[in-house]
């Protein structure tokens, strides 16, 4: 992972967005009854974005010095993505408790007691603040959605 330049990845993202939106613009149409259609601005923006993305992809040095990717943030991102996928199925409490224990244990090397304390205090604190005090009706348990 360390070998990949973040600027190149960003360039690739720019190119992908420019292609997706630019090609999509063709299906929307550029003119509707004599005036610009919904596709015009996306086409213009994509047309300028595409060469910028290519430039970053080819010569990442233009941005100056950047730091390589690291493993920890990427695995943490994966954990958070799994969390987001589990929430609609299991409700807020269980996935959040698990994620917080994993976060403190694995990513910060805390003891199990500390990790559990963080998970329980933070989860219950948020539930009390948002569900009870601010009246946000968030499904807390499986099936309560």
């Amino acid at each position: 992972v360390r070998q990949i330049s973040p600027v190149r990845v960003a360039g690739a993202v720019f190119v992908a967005l420019a292609l997706a939106f630019g090609l999509g613009a063709f299906t929307l149409g550029f003119r509707a009854e004599g005036v610009p259609g919904p596709g015009l601005l996306p086409l213009l923006a994509s047309a300028v974005l595409l060469p910028i993305g290519v430039r970053l992809l080819v010569t990442p040095g233009v941005v100056g010095e950047t730091s390589p990717f690291a493993a920890a943030p990427l695995s943490l991102l994966a954990v958070l993505a799994v969390h987001a996928l589990l929430l609609p199925r299991l409700g807020f409490v269980a996935p959040t408790l698990v994620v917080l224990v994993v976060w403190a244990r694995v990513f910060h090397g805390r003891s199990l007691v500390a990790a559990l304390a963080l998970a329980v205090l933070l989860t219950s604190g948020v539930v009390v603040l948002f569900n009870a005090l601010l009246g946000i009706r968030m499904p807390l348990w499986p099936g309560s959605a």
Binding site: S5, P6, V7, V9, A10, V13, F14, A18, F21, G24, G34, V35, P36, G37, P38, L40, L41, P42, A45, S46, V48, L49, I52, G53, R55, L56, V62, V63, G64, E65, T66, P68, F69, A70, A71, A72, P73, L76, L77, L80, A81, H83, A84, L87, P88, F92, T96, L100, W103, A104, F107, H108, L118, T123, V126, F130, L134, I136, R137, M138
Partner: protein, 504 residues
């Protein structure tokens, strides 16, 4: 002028209503509380706290709270710049230069105090300036049609993206990504679904708040997750809090000049705080009899930019409220927040809802005073917050962001938006790409799209209308000039830009 003064007095009577004072107090306190957490700048702070303002009943109350959150977060950002050398936003980088040096020399106290006092003085100057400039702007804007709006929005975007730090090409790229993402959803003119890619949840566009919380909050947390060592917090020697007589003598002029400079630059869409802070720093260094002390703990190097920053933050509300054009990423978020409250900023707001304009202006003053009262005594508490270890801070911000994203419209889908935006935020942070042009463009996309199409409609299908309308033509010409200078290597007009870019 007398009329404006009367209107301002009316504004004060609104802002000083007990409920509004409470909103200002809570906003300033929470804004500082979140803003002082390392790495969380004003945009993140506003994004995290935005859902709270939905609970506020009135648009004026919500806007007063948001403005106070903004002020508080800026002060919090100054604190982390001075004590940790961690700027919360690009404009605070300038404060780091001398503020952190002062802290290392055991003079963190005077640095923090002068930042607070300078901000307060600048806020005062800016509010007085607003009283006169605001109505003039609104009158001017009444004559603006779609071509002028398109030209101004383009100008603001170009200026903001090329001055955001880093090479201009990346700023422009980020702004274009923002435009594209901002166009997702139903087209308001034809009713056609644009770029929803099959997600029914995207018909109303990508939700702003989860995107912001992801780009800035989650992105920052992910970025910090790889850093094992703690930040070097300098609190052992805070020094005396109040500046000495000599400090005063050195700062007075800097505060005055910074306030005026920052105010004027904040009026320009896209000018923003970073340019004001940079120019003020360069100016003070030039005027100083001891320029060699700049970068080594000169108090004028903190006082000037901090004042410019705050004055610019205040005056950037003028284009937002009178033209309906946000000039930077923060006012762009406030723009979106106003729309949520069913308030359409623009010249008509000034006529039809004067209480919003004058109430907010007056409440800025109240908010500024509150920060002064709040922050000088509470410095010790904010320093304790800087000590919160990352294994508690990171997960806390993430969990609050998850609930915040869900709560906007009770949709887990927006938690997905949050995580995807977080991945983007981390990527941009690693690639040294500044996300604020993206945010500003995301919010301006709708204005750009609509005004472009209306303009061409006005011109009977011809884009020549942008050349034949004199104001639009001049603005677009200046825009092209900015692009040419930025891309042709003439951008070294401000030498300090280099110093700042090395640090961002």
């Amino acid at each position: 002028v007398i009329e404006s003064a009367q209107q301002l007095a009316w504004g004060f009577s609104l802002a000083l209503q007990p409920e509004h004072v409470v909103y200002a107090f809570v906003g300033a306190l929470l804004g500082t509380f979140i803003g002082v957490l390392p790495g969380l700048g004003p945009l993140t702070t506003i994004a995290v706290l935005l859902p709270l303002t939905y609970q506020v009943g009135s648009p004026l109350g919500a806007l007063i709270m948001l403005a106070s959150i903004y002020y508080g977060s800026m002060y919090g950002g100054s604190t982390t710049s001075i004590l940790l050398n961690v700027p919360g936003e690009a404009a605070s980088v300038v404060t780091c230069l001398d503020g952190h040096e002062m802290a290392k020399q055991g003079r963190a106290g005077p640095a923090l105090a002068i930042a607070a006092i300078g901000s307060f003085a600048a806020g005062t100057v800016a509010v007085i300036g607003l009283t006169f400039v605001g109505p003039a702007f609104a009158r001017l804007a009444l004559g603006f049609g779609p071509p002028e709006y398109f030209a101004l929005a383009t100008f603001g975007l170009v200026l903001a993206s090329t001055l955001s730090g880093g090479p201009p090409i990346t700023g422009v790229g980020m702004a274009l990504v923002g435009v594209l993402l901002g166009l997702v959803g139903v087209d308001t003119v034809t009713g056609v679904d644009r770029f929803a890619f099959g997600f029914i949840q995207l018909t109303n566009g990508i939700e702003l708040v989860p995107m912001l919380m992801g780009l800035f909050g989650l992105g920052e947390i992910l970025y910090n997750a790889e850093r094992k060592g703690a930040l070097a917090l300098i609190t052992s020697r805070l020094g005396r809090l109040f500046p000495s007589r000599e400090d005063w003598r050195e700062s007075r002029g800097a505060i005055g000049r910074g306030s005026v400079l920052g105010f004027l630059i904040g009026l320009i869409p896209g000018g923003g705080a970073i340019l004001g802070a940079l120019l003020s720093y360069t100016l003070e260094k030039r005027l100083s009899r001891t320029p060699e002390r700049f970068g080594r703990g000169a108090i004028a190097g903190v006082a000037g930019p901090e004042s410019a920053n705050n004055a610019g933050a205040t005056s950037s509300f003028v284009p937002l409220l009178t033209l309906g054009l946000p000039g930077n990423a923060v006012t762009a978020v406030l723009f979106a927040a106003l729309l949520i409250q069913n308030v359409q900023p623009g010249p008509l707001l000034f006529q039809q809802r004067p209480e919003i304009f004058w109430g907010v202006i007056a409440s800025m003053y109240v908010g500024n005073a509150m920060l002064l009262v709040l922050n000088l005594p509470l410095v010790g508490l904010w320093i304790q917050l800087l000590r919160v270890p990352f294994w508690i801070l990171g997960p806390s911000v993430a969990v609050v962001a998850v609930v915040g994203a869900y709560s906007l419209r009770n949709a887990w889908f927006d938690v997905g938006v949050l995580v995807v935006a977080g991945a983007f935020g981390y990527l941009f942070r690693k690639a040294a790409l500044e996300p604020s042009p993206l945010v500003m463009a995301f919010i301006l996309a709708d204005i750009l799209d609509t005004s472009l199409r209306q303009s061409v409609l006005m011109g009977d299908g011809s884009p020549l209308i942008f050349v034949t309308r004199p104001i639009a033509a001049v603005i677009l010409l200046v825009t092209v000039a900015v692009l040419v200078t930025q891309f042709s290597g003439m951008r070294r007009l401000v030498p300090a830009v280099d110093a700042v870019q090395e640090r961002t």
